[in-house]
Symmetry: C2
Subunit: 194 residues, 2 copies
DNA sequence: CAGCTGACAGATTTCAATATCTGTCAGCTG
DNA sequence: CAGCTGACAGATATTGAAATCTGTCAGCTG
């Protein structure tokens, strides 16, 4: 690839994703990343202080992409219950799609997410923040009832964990899963309604 | 130990638990079990056709002990909502206690449960069966509303997974966990009430 | 002769030597 | 002289030979 281009953090992150996709998280080395870019591995260390920092940056990028996908639904101009259903369904669909399309890469991100709890923690806070917004809108509109929207949002997130937590990814391909998702959604939405 | 006693499946299972507790799932061998019993490992194979069968039997025993603990609550003479709360709280407490008291043994059972999906599957069916009984009692008493108690029971079980699925065990020691459990319980119970 | 032993073949695990990787930095290059 | 290289030390991973384990079975023993 165009060895004349200057080496940016962005280009390194793209190359790292490439290497992770190819080799998986256990065998992806900084030397591999440098080779893909046609530079020495010393140059990579100019942009990322450690291999852990590089992996964290890749993870953050990936998590942020998911957050952005969902932010659109929060801002949509629909009634809160429909938005809530859409948001949870979209989260499930996005995770399932990613897990199904490229299981190797998905497993890789599972490992990375497990490694740096900080980036993952911020991402979870971000998602429950989005949920809180929808719940609050519902309370304001009089269609939801709850003492504390933030607590309710966290409860919703935990209650639907089976349909977005990556540890359950293998079960997302089983036949009855959609009916199970509907059952849980119906249960928690009934619990939220005024 | 009493080498004069005859070798029963039960004695082998006890010795196996002992070995698993000591060495963990990865390093527990049939030879170790035989050594604890003071017999040759060939004798163990007289009672269990393979090492996998032995591990499955140990797992089943462990899972059945949990089921029995909870069965008492299902049969209790209290109103269904209280029984449901008790049952879910007891499941959480039992799992948390086991994980906290002997993390090594708990991790061992996690591995074993992952290995033989069949025994685990039957156990989950057993637990949701217990839940279904409580839900049905609630519907009959007019305090719960649901189209199908069995589906509702499965939804309840999934929604509270964070508080009984062993993959979440590390989080059960974190400070806010009880409040989170209460929040999820309140949400799903509101969703179930008539 | 029912129940156990222990030697055995093939599969799996351990261990130590060898190779590769991470992170640094003095010096090269355009 | 900003940005890159490549040699280096210590840490980590790979590899293959040796040790151990699984599962079988002919024969021992009480």
């Amino acid at each position: 690839m165009a060895t004349t281009e200057i080496l940016t953090a962005e280009r390194i992150l793209e190359a790292t994703e490439e290497v992770l996709r190819r080799h998986g998280p256990a065998k992806a080395t900084v030397v591999d990343v440098a080779r893909v870019l046609g530079v020495s591995h010393g140059s990579v260390y100019r942009h990322f202080r450690t291999k852990a920092a590089l992996r964290e940056a890749v993870t953050k990028r990936w998590l942020d992409r998911t957050s952005e996908e969902l932010a659109g639904i929060v801002a949509a101009d629909r009634d809160p219950e429909a938005r809530l259903r859409d948001w949870l369904a979209a989260l499930f669909a996005a995770k399932r799609r990613k897990a199904g399309d490229d299981p190797e890469l998905f497993a890789t991100y599972r490992v990375l997410a497990g490694e740096n709890g900080e980036a993952t923690g911020r991402h979870l806070a971000d998602l429950t923040g989005q949920l809180t917004e929808i719940v609050r809108a519902g309370v304001d509109a009089g269609v939801f009832t709850t003492a504390d929207p933030a607590t309710a949002a966290r409860a919703l997130f935990h209650a639907t964990g089976r349909f977005h937590d990556p540890v359950y990814a293998p079960e997302w391909e089983q036949p009855g899963i959609d009916a199970e998702f509907e059952a849980v959604m119906d249960l928690v939405l009934r619990g939220l309604r005024a």
